[in-house]
Symmetry: C2
Subunit: 332 residues, 2 copies
């Protein structure tokens, strides 16, 4: 399992489009205590609202890892970025990223890390040594975010539920299963990069036995009805053995994003499939809420649809971004 | 996708336990036309009934690949095997195996292969460059073997159905999804070694659009209710888009093999889950038969249980090893 040392110096490069710094924004929003400063090159249009620091200054005030907080478009890392990342390694920082191109595959960075005894965290690249799942029942509560498609707010919902639990004094741990989640939390697994045979085992390891009043809140991936990623979703479900799940859905989305001709899952379909597939390993599994993205609606419309869907499915329905998730968490 | 050149010289080493040559036996049973000769060291107790040949003799009569046909127990390949494999590469043969230890990870073999322009096929190790599944519907018929557990005869059933189809003059292709299947057929994918995100895509590539009267008969993996491998099974199901499936089951097996405390799937449960999960991408999906391992029963008992289960589930029920699969194939 990846373990990234905090606090972070977040690298934004020279990104000209502020929205490309989405990962950095997620870090600051969900784990402000892990984010020390930002480093921006000339021309950078993104701003996370953190103090700007050089590598030297950040190290002086305790930074441990330079995290790339912006999307990089293109095939090869630009030379200017490589020089900056090398500088970070030479100055004693680890480096971390969820880019398609592995940082450790760049000889200059690999050598600099080895020379300085620093770590390179390519959170998209999974470790080789993973266990096969045991299927053994374990103690503690686990809540998994399911979805009617990819990119419907599973990560956001899990982070929001975890935060709401902590705010209520509940014992809870967020469990990241995707690269951005791992960068945000500093630990976790990138489920989609794990060899199929080891996926459920890696999730078992990520969410071990715990106290009877403890909650692991687990970021979900994909959808049980997704043509490309359903295997990841089922591996997560069986590895996690959740006793509770939420269904995440974007109101108004009709087709699977990027898969024209394929309808998104129906909420009732995802609930039924999750119950049916999950109950073998979690006999008391149940749906505890709907997390809906209603950003296409007015506030009045949004509240109306939340009421309608809560009644229809007999569970709490929230828009985590607009109104939070207290309606779900107060019932747990 | 792996492509192994035939004919094979099957290497059995010095295995002292004849049953360890199960892979070799599978090759000879299912693809005798690909098997030219066997090579056995002093003390070898296995015999595939093929002519014994030296590497030199096998090359002289046209052998293309030395395939390791026996299980190797232990951590490192013995020096004597490495020497023999090197000799094969030097003599102009490719080498292939489905061992845990990758042959290409042995420097002596890697160097010999490079020097002689030969291929090393580690069929357990999957290729890096794989597509994401598209979810697009495609022409042709696809039959997938599902199961109530691992090791219940999915490979055997698919190979038997494929053979029976060919015997009836039907257009059919066997599609291997596991290492032994790949060695037997010389082509295919090792699904369990593929990174989760690419699994369904690899299966789409393995089973492309085909003529309306053509059948791809696809080896299955795992089980939809398996705690460790269910993700592999669902990835296969969604990638394959089968319009027909069989359920393989060992009569009398109560617990998942190697997973104490976990019950095997019920036949009706596997049929229902496969229909429910499969019909999104294969609206006309249906169960076309049961493939049962009744080796624990007498012949009379076996015939009785086949009749009972055929009636109960409303489909043909066969024991492929004992009585063949004609009852299934004649209805397709």
């Amino acid at each position: 399992m990846t373990q990234i040392s905090a606090p972070y110096l977040i690298y934004l490069g020279n990104t000209e489009i502020a929205q490309f710094a989405k990962t950095g924004q997620g870090l600051v929003h969900w784990r402000p205590e892990r984010c020390l400063a930002q480093l921006r090159e000339t021309g950078c249009q993104a701003d996370l609202g953190l103090p700007d620091m050089t590598i030297k200054d950040a190290v002086a005030v305790g930074a441990k890892t330079l995290v790339i907080g912006t999307t990089f478009i293109g095939g090869q890392l630009p030379d200017a970025w490589i020089a900056r990342l090398s500088e970070a390694l030479e100055a004693g920082l680890d480096i971390a990223a969820g880019l398609h191109q592995s940082l450790a595959s760049v000889p200059q960075l690999r050598d600099a890390a080895a020379r300085n005894g620093r770590a390179i965290h390519d959170v998209r690249v999974s470790k080789k040594e993973l266990p096969i799942a045991s299927g053994k029942r374990r103690t503690g509560n686990r809540l998994l975010a399911m979805g009617t498609d990819c990119a419907v707010g599973k990560k956001y919902s899990a982070l929001a539920i975890h935060r709401a639990m902590e705010a209520r004094g509940m014992k809870a741990t967020f469990r990241a299963t995707g690269q951005t989640g791992v960068l945000i939390d500093g630990t976790g697994i990138a489920a989609d990069a794990i060899v199929s045979d080891f996926l459920a085992g890696a999730v078992e390891q990520l969410t071990p036995a715990a106290d009877a009043d403890h909650w692991d809140v687990i970021e979900g991936q994909g959808s049980l009805i997704h043509p490309a990623y359903s295997g990841v979703t089922l591996g997560l479900l069986h590895g996690a053995q959740p006793n509770a799940f939420v269904v995440c859905h974007e109101v108004g989305r009709e087709e699977l994003s990027g898969f024209p001709g394929n309808k998104t899952g129906q909420i009732e379909e995802i609930i039924a499939l999750t119950m049916l597939l999950g109950e073998r390993f979690s006999p008391d599994i149940k749906c505890v809420g709907l997390c809906l993205n209603t950003s296409g609606l007015t506030e009045v419309e949004s509240k109306a649809i939340l009421l309608t869907l809560a009644e229809k499915h007999g569970v709490a329905a929230c828009d985590p971004v607009r109104f939070g998730v207290n309606d779900i968490v107060q019932n747990l």
